[in-house]
Symmetry: C2
Subunit: 417 residues, 2 copies
């Protein structure tokens, strides 16, 4: 008995040391409150997930046909740069939908856009080097930066201005001799902002001036509303060696779980250097690549257009419902499937937790992502939340009805205390 | 015209800067000569691939049944820690085959063992921290270290001693105040060495003494020959908080392209910290996880035993053929599906390139992996090569026949010059 105690004590006294890097990696603000949602569900409450960009749209039947068409007997490694058939299909798809010219050799297939971004952070930056981002930003960029030891430098965009790109002079102020790249997500996650041709254009000029990479995450490229047309950085500067496009099938084709992304550049050195990093992890999943290539080759033209229309109507439903709630300020997004709203609470995370843990309305509640995790300057987001309009219109309406009731109850309680 | 020249010149004068990290990431020694192999094939020569651990064994039919059993309409994100059904199935599989007790909560599912190792390098080490490895080592560990900014410290194992673990004192000499972990691959890639209970045991003691993590890559655990039984570190110290097992379905079930690996530990802090890093990349592929779980639940008991027997017979074929070649020294591996041989050439990489680029025998040639890329102390491997016995016995025999003829021709040519 004393021996057992002694051994336990020894282990407690000298725990094996975990890295500062791991300690400093931020938890995902999207998944942070998931345990409260799980609890609410267990107690029988229906939870509307507006917290995560997981669309409920059915994946294209052509993807499942592709799965069934895989008839190799051995599920072998693919090439590190990706399945050639997928690079060809993706290049054709982009050339057709955007009316531009890319070649399959410009593609490196990755495990989601996430992996492409981690690779690029490593290829463009040594530890301590800097990348300019726009605040609020896709929260996982912070995680990639922690992984790669890269310093993200935020330049603030403002809700009052529909989160448009900050002025050129403000961005230039963020550039130091350690800046290696500017990273833009267009259309934007979390704001839903679609940047104009002029904005993208001056950003590229700024990169030329300071000899920086311009990394454009175009995961949501085709999700633009109100008569806008998809605009790629490649429309503007198709041959720029400083431009790297990150792309993904996850959202566009409701294939988040297939984990198929890519990077695309005409800079051969970037491709060659990134390939060495890609070789260390061997390859992206073989069957998902095969099924994705099959899908891109066979998909019907109307799939994307129908999806786009559906999201536009959901956007309208969310925007209209949110702006009816007293003291809620909301920006009408032109793209992607997110918006950021300002709530009349002092701490949106405490309110989000309240909705899941201490509230239900008609046996339902709503899961929203507190925006502080999307801001590097956290305080800028403390009264805001990100809403993903990834559910059916009727569900979005019910979700916002529940949220409004929750907000009312939350504010009354606070007033009483 | 002059404008175009000016622009080109400008681009050439100020290329966008690629990181030192990317420049310093070593290319894969396994895939390095692939372009020569591709050329040989184009010219009609059959190339025997003994360079890469890609088995030709058919993947289990239960995996393909699992693919067909996936009937969700949306290919959605899985949880960041992995599909719960897969953790349960994997835990059950390990408990059954190894007669030990693991729980599903101890697993974190990753995109191959590769991703598990990158995560662990990051969780255990800050940039500049050190991990002890044994030279020769699995070449991709060098890539993971470059990605994570970790310093690998090699302790040499010797072919004369069948690449057994170095003496405790030699290993202890490599430990500094920045050492955070010892990494062992058992059975070993590239040597095929299977470490004894005593060797693993003293390694764990050494880790206790210096408060280090012990990471054991057990990708090849079930591939042991000559009456040996699979031995996991968990047989010895099932509850040690410093032990982390890395595992993979790639080799065991000939599923390299499914990209399904895991890490397994009873250290909750390691799991929680690694999960944050895992959240940044969202999740491993959904369908591959589902099919893998289905396979582990339904696979027939004899699949692995038949595979093991097949590899043992290939091992014998390779070993017997190699030791007949004059001046070739070869070690008889007890596990995995690799061996390292010493060749009577001054530079095994030049010889490997010769086999692909300047030689054929009966219209065939052999692709071997030069061993210098598997040694951190490169010179130790300059006369050696790694052979993977992943082809059918008859093909291995033909491959070594071609290699022997190539060696003879190569040595004659060198003697003439």
């Amino acid at each position: 008995m004393s021996l057992i105690l002694f051994q336990r004590k020894e282990i407690e006294m000298v725990p094996v040391r975990i890295s500062n890097r791991a300690h400093n990696t931020p938890p995902s603000p999207i998944r942070k409150l998931a345990h409260l949602a799980a609890k609410a569900k267990k107690s029988g409450t229906h939870v509307y997930h507006l917290n995560i960009g997981q669309p409920d749209i059915e994946s294209p039947p052509e993807f499942f046909e592709g799965l069934r068409a895989f008839n190799q007997k051995v599920v072998a490694y693919e090439q590190s740069q990706g399945y050639e058939g997928l690079s060809i299909a993706w290049s054709n798809y982009i050339n057709k939908t955007l009316q531009i010219n890319t070649r399959p050799e410009q593609f490196l297939i990755t495990v989601g856009a996430s992996e492409a971004l981690v690779f690029l952070f490593m290829t463009c930056c040594d530890p301590g080097d800097e990348i300019i981002i726009f605040d609020p930003t896709y929260a996982n960029y912070l995680g990639f930066a922690a992984i790669a030891g890269v310093q993200l430098v935020p330049v603030l965009s403002n809700m009052e201005n529909n989160f448009a790109l900050p002025a050129r002079s403000e961005i230039a102020q963020g550039i130091t001799n350690r800046t290696r790249a500017i990273l833009l997500c267009n259309p934007n996650n979390p704001t839903g902002t679609v940047y104009s041709r002029e904005e993208i254009s001056f950003l590229h000029e700024l990169c030329e001036e300071h000899n920086l990479f311009l990394i454009v995450d175009e995961t949501y490229r085709e999700f633009v509303y109100d008569e806008l047309k998809p605009l790629s950085i490649l429309h503007l500067v198709p041959k720029s060696p400083r431009v790297i496009v990150v792309d993904s099938l996850s959202k566009r084709f409701s294939l988040c779980g297939a984990r198929i992304g890519c990077l695309l550049t005409c800079n051969d050195e970037v491709l060659a250097m990134t390939l060495k990093i890609a070789q260390a992890r061997l390859a992206a999943p073989t069957i998902d690549q095969f099924a994705s290539a099959y899908m891109l080759e066979h998909i019907k033209d109307d799939y994307l257009e129908n999806t786009r229309k559906e999201f536009q109507s959901r956007r309208d439903a969310l925007y209209n419902a949110l702006k009816e709630i007293p003291d809620v300020a909301v920006h009408k997004p032109k793209g992607a499937f997110y918006t950021v709203a300002h709530l009349p609470v002092s701490d949106a995370e405490a309110f989000a937790a309240f909705l899941l843990a201490d509230f239900s309305y008609k046996n339902q509640t709503t899961f929203i992502a507190p925006a502080s995790g999307f801001y590097m300057q956290n305080l800028q987001g403390i009264q805001k939340a990100r809403f993903a309009f990834v559910l059916k219109k009727s569900e979005i309406e019910a979700a916002i009805e529940a949220l409004a009731a929750g907000l009312d109850q939350y504010l009354r309680r606070r007033a009483r205390n």
